[in-house]
């Protein structure tokens, strides 16, 4: 009843092409953004911002990156964590070695470095496909982590190979409190998510999807596979790289190459699969699911109190987490984003379903 677009006529192409063509959606988005920009920093505790909101946002960004590559362009990749590592170490080195480097510029340059590395490792995608490509990107995962450990220059000759992010200063303002760091992260993620959403609706996004659905047919209608695939690798790695820089600068503060291991790559891939392959919205839902569910389970196990021994509780957490993933994949193989879409369609008809 409330969620109905009757009476909203599009009089121009511009109106027809906007991201949220329905007025209710626009209002909802404005309210949600206002809530996250104004409400959350005001009400949420330090734990909430630092322990939950910031990681969810950062992983959402990484998941968007992988979703562009895997979900939209159809190229399976297992190297997302390594591209995050490139971003984190590149940002560190730019700030360290270029005096007066503005931090946001360093983030962009870090993303570009990751994009360049991503393109190199994307080259095999021109010849091999599917699971074989996944193995090729696996090489990126191991090679990059190895190289960052092997060459001490990357970590400024730190004996342990660990880097500590410098202070984040923009126009003289020091981002130190969790609120400030949260807002910075949120700002970067909002801009990049909006950009991604527009990219996948534009011609480049359509050519990605054409390649994904059938590359021979795409080539026949005039889409250059090399250009398109490498573009997908570059954009995807750019997103992962910026996520990695944020991971180091606004979340952990100190990172080691080991932290960006295959496990993290898999985690990002799971976010994409659970959230919804080929959906920007799904990246957010998937990241929230994968990051929050274990924490939620951990806390609820604690509420059971002493009669569940800690060792059992920790193992139960993994069992329930795994079980829920399987459950969700069975009831909705297209991910949480699809559930959201179904909900929206139902709401459109409510209260008079057919």
């Amino acid at each position: 009843m409330l969620y109905r677009e009757a009476g909203q006529f599009k009089a121009s192409y511009k109106e027809d092409q906007q991201i949220f063509p329905i007025r209710q959606d626009r209002i909802a988005i404005a309210l949600i953004l206002a809530f996250f920009y104004l409400g959350v920093p005001y009400f949420a505790s330090q734990y909430w911002l630092q322990g939950i909101m910031i990681p969810v946002l950062i992983f959402s960004l990484a998941a968007i990156g992988l979703n562009i590559l895997t979900g939209y362009a159809g190229q399976l990749s297992l190297g997302s964590a390594a591209f995050m590592a490139v971003g984190a170490f590149a940002a560190y080195n730019f700030v360290l070695r270029v005096p007066g480097m503005p931090i946001l510029v360093a983030f962009v340059l870090a993303g570009l470095c990751a994009a360049a590395v991503g393109m190199v490792f994307g080259l095999p995608s021109l010849r091999i496909k599917g699971f074989y490509l996944a193995v090729a990107t696996l090489a990126a995962q191991f090679f990059i982590v190895w190289a960052l450990t092997k060459f001490p220059w990357f970590s400024n000759h730190s004996s342990s190979g660990v880097i500590t992010a410098q202070k984040v200063v923009i126009l003289g303002y020091v981002f130190e409190t969790p609120e400030a760091k949260y807002l910075l992260t949120l700002g970067v993620v909002t801009v990049l998510a909006l950009l991604a959403k527009n990219m996948v609706r534009s011609s480049i996004g359509r050519s990605w999807m054409a390649i994904r659905d059938m590359d021979v047919a795409a080539e026949v209608i005039g889409i250059r596979p090399m250009h398109t695939k490498l573009m997908a690798f570059a954009v995807s790695s750019f997103y992962c790289g910026v996520a990695g820089a944020l991971y180091a600068y606004t979340y952990l503060g100190t990172v080691e190459p080991e932290g960006f291991n295959l496990d993290l790559s898999f985690r990002i891939l799971f976010m994409v699969i659970i959230g919804g392959v080929g959906s920007i919205m799904g990246s957010f839902l998937g990241a929230a699911f994968i990051v929050l569910l274990p924490i939620f389970l951990n806390i609820s196990m604690h509420m059971l109190g002493d009669w569940v021994p800690q060792g059992l509780a920790s193992n139960l957490e993994l069992i329930v987490f795994g079980g829920l993933i399987i459950f969700f994949l069975i009831v909705e193989p297209h991910g949480l984003a699809r559930l959201w879409q179904i909900g929206k369609e139902k709401l459109r008809l409510w209260p008079f379903p057919h």
Partner: protein, 440 residues
Amino acid sequence: MKMKKSALIGFAVAAALGASVVQAADQYIGLPSYRVGPYAAGGTGIYGGMIDYFQLINERDGGINGVKLTWDECETEYNNARGVECYERQKKNGPTGNTVVHPLSTGITYSLIDKVAVDKIPIISIGYGRTDATDGRYFPYVFPLITNYWSQSTAKIKFIGMKEGGMDKLKGKKIVNIYHDSAYGKETIPVLDAQAKKYGFTVKHIPVAHPGNEQQSQWLQVRQEKPDWVILRGWGVMSAVAIKAAAKVGFPREKMVGVWWSGAEEDTIPAGSAAKGYIAAGFNVAGTNYPVMKDIQKYVYAKGKGNMDDKSRVGSIYHNRGVVHGIITVEAIRKAQEKFGKGKSITGEQMRWGIENLNIDNAMLKKLGAEGFMPELKISCMDHEGSGKVKFQQWDGKQWKVITDWIDADKSIVRPMIEESAAKYGKEKNIAPRDCSKES
């Protein structure tokens, strides 16, 4: 983007958080433990031992000057991001917030170093973590107590020198360093190189990729090199595999010296008979033949309040290491109470003072029933390590046997390297060093 779903989950978590409130006049310690995953053997043992000791203090002494210890655990899975989440979750619990953090993971320690300085909660990282944090002028809130990796490396070379019949006999000898190819494994390379130069032996570094369950090529290389000694810097599954691989190529296990993270029952038992004769460093010993362990049996396990599911692990290397963590934590709280008010809950900032002024000598260890169980410990503003001593133990096929007394580190090699590294950190982060003569 719409994030209603995450917000909903969030509110449920927030509701759950409200439930964990601890009563006043308690001392709360948040434990970011790991009981699942590849390193669970270490996690269950050490956190179990620590909890057993806290339980002993509550049961036998009624707490520290009447202040009962309380704690809860938060599963980190040895994962940095989960570790940070646990730290944030636990830091405000209890009447005075979290007292002290024991991350038991080098990665999590690194991730918390900046945060603890802001929140004023000390980190104790015994035998792991950031080596240059030994320089307390730059790292007021980080305590890599007892011994760090560099100190341990010099003690190992000293031990090898002893076995060879004097440090001058090391000249011309060949040592192979088999290390876990990670930040952790690489950390001792510069110290070993410095010592090789000083004593005139040659050292060859051979990396093993994580997790290390395939080491055939590395050990073939060892066979070609024919070294006099092999130093094993392993972690997790890598250690047992290395011992077995050494047996396969016929390298004598009596010439293999492991770091303390590859010197527990969990490393030798899987290697079976191949492990007999293998030597490892340790800052604590195994066994229950100490008064403190007997008290744990009597006051904790006899009452059914023990933390270890597998009672046979009580007195194992990891469990005893946890007891050492417990002793140090409790004594630091006691020290802080002496200054800031007996019978009161102390804050993290006061705890920091307690750790920095901790002095556990042999008389005190005797009183605690832990003489010979762990080395003496004296912390100061300059020296956040406080000891540097290790014992070497040999696996006799059934259990670890101590074969040396406490061996000191060679501070003349380690200290300048630590100060250099810490000063570099200070410069990078714009931290001015504290003036230690003004600390009381």
